[in-house]
Amino acid sequence: MRPSRWGNALRGTLLSLVVAVMLLPVYAMVAVASASDATDLGGLGFDAAQFGEHLSLLFGQGGFPLYLRNSVILSLGVAVLEVVLSGAAGYALAQLAFPGRRVLFAVVVGTLSLSPIVVLVPMYLVVRQLGWIDSFQGMIVPFAMSAFGVFLVRQFALSLPRELLLSARVDGAGELRIFLRVAVPLLRPALLTLFLLQFLAQWDNLLWPLVVANKPGLWPLPVGLSQLQTEYDFSAGLVGTAALVTAVPPLVLMFVLQRYYVAGLTLGGVKK
């Protein structure tokens, strides 16, 4: 099948159009960020002066820079722990035989289906028992691993080239050394994908930090932003600007990691 030049051009145009439509709401975000008040939301124009005013207001207020810092700590903390812990567990589940493997995998899959809302109160009790209310560890540790993360790494690790692991064993390398020296480099795309996805998830986590942190000094962006936006009283432009600024760090991270997440999401779908 030899694609014609016209076919290619048509396909390219259509795809570009679809992607453009997907990016329209992002533009709407920019437009809202420059809206002057709550009745002026529908416009699609961009008012740079208004936007600048909102920006200086946002960074001039005490709260926002602090929320930004807290979000960075929270998201980085969770993402790093997740990579280390879920990475290890995912690899073990896929490549090593150890007692309790089946049980652990069943728990992981079961947890995937468990609604986080219903464990909110029991989890709060656990964290309180540990004395972690009002602390970063109270916000970070409950998300230090995830069923999704273990599942993702396991799926990827299933398709690691057997021969490579085997030859390392023949060479007499210990299992931990094989994991660190052979598997981790090969798992890098999956681990960095997990890093990205968990960073994004925590950047957007509202409920848990709100419940567990009683000091505004600990609040991350989603909680801080819902402060800006209450039922009867909000400045649309300011909230829009805050939303826009909030979206920048995840976007940058995504572009930096782009090379990896495409490979990481291949999941070893097909054996080569």
Binding site: G42, A88, A247
Partner: protein, 305 residues
């Protein structure tokens, strides 16, 4: 609760007791943090929730054992049935179009080329947009004079009350979540497609098979495992979806977007009937596990790659 997922056996060529012992030790060591973590933060809270579902716990006092009362109450609770219906509808409405759409975009997008490379980067942008921060922007998009109405105006459809029409509101949520997740699905599928062996396609093309036939007979079956992954995360995501409705419609208008997790939230934290809310969560959990099993079963088939 064991899934019928076959775990590949450990490498046995370098067999012998020593190897098995080394593996067990390394495996236990690597999995130990996971075991402790899941025990403390999920199994124990989960056991707590199971127990609460048999009690009258109202976020105060000592929970009293009430047996199956909560489950019995479910049967006659119109709010629960409404939410179950809304969740089923929402799941189908958001999973099917987003996977079909993702496939339709991924197939041409997986071809090499500089334009495609750029588009693959752009398509992920919505996935990086935090929903909580941008929900206000979405209510502006769905407002009377908002972007959604401007767009449908281009094809000659009059303005619609997106968030206040009980037939449309659910679709407004579907649009928002599809927008958010489509990029991720496209990238997963693209990656899967790019990993397919090209030889098979060439052979099929030589045999004179048309593109649609190739897609149905070769691409789809080969892509099964990737599709399964996308399907599982899409279905679980849709059934647990709480944030879009919580932020955008609060379950309205007239209960049209009151998805089960939202009803769970209202029951637990609004009405303070945590025992009853736990029972609802158990039903949701069983439904999701059953669905996951069906998906594994259907898409795994005999060979699991």
């Amino acid at each position: 609760m064991t899934l019928t997922v076959r775990l590949p056996g450990p490498a046995t060529t370098v067999s012998g007791r020593g190897q098995r012992w080394a593996e067990a030790r390394a495996g236990s060591l690597l999995a130990l943090p996971a075991a402790v973590y899941f025990l403390v933060f999920w199994v124990v809270p989960f056991a707590g929730a199971v127990w609460l579902s048999f009690t009258d716990y109202e976020l105060a006092g000592v929970p009293a054992w009430t047996g199956l009362d909560n489950y019995h109450r479910l049967l006659g609770d119109p709010g629960f049935w409404n939410s179950a219906r809304v969740t089923a509808l929402y799941t189908v409405a958001s999973v099917v179009p987003s996977i079909v759409l993702a496939l339709a975009i991924a197939v041409p997008l997986s071809r090499p080329g500089r334009l495609n490379g750029v588009l693959r980067a752009l398509v992920m942008i919505p996935a990086a947009m935090p929903l909580v921060a941008t929900s206000m922007v979405w209510s502006a998009i769905f407002a009377d004079e908002g972007l959604a109405n401007t767009l449908i105006g281009l094809v000659g459809i009059g303005p619609q009350p997106w968030l206040t029409d009980e037939r449309l509101a659910l679709w407004a949520l579907v649009i928002m979540t599809t927008w958010k997740h489509l990029g991720l699905f496209v990238i997963i599928l693209t990656a899967g497609l790019q990993g397919l062996p090209s030889g098979v396609f060439e052979a099929a093309a030589i045999d004179g098979a048309g593109p649609l036939r190739i897609f149905a007979r070769i691409t789809l079956p080969l892509l099964r495992r990737t599709l399964l992954f996308v399907l599982v995360i899409a279905v679980i995501g849709a059934m647990q979806s709480f944030v879009p409705a919580f932020l955008l419609t609060k379950g309205g208008p007239a209960g049209a977007t009151e998805v089960l997790p939202l009803y769970l939230w209202a029951t637990g934290f609004g009405f303070e009937r945590m025992g009853y809310a736990s029972a609802i969560a158990m039903v949701l959990l069983v439904a999701m596990l059953a669905l996951s099993l069906v998906q594994f079963g259907v898409l795994r088939g005999g060979d699991d790659g």
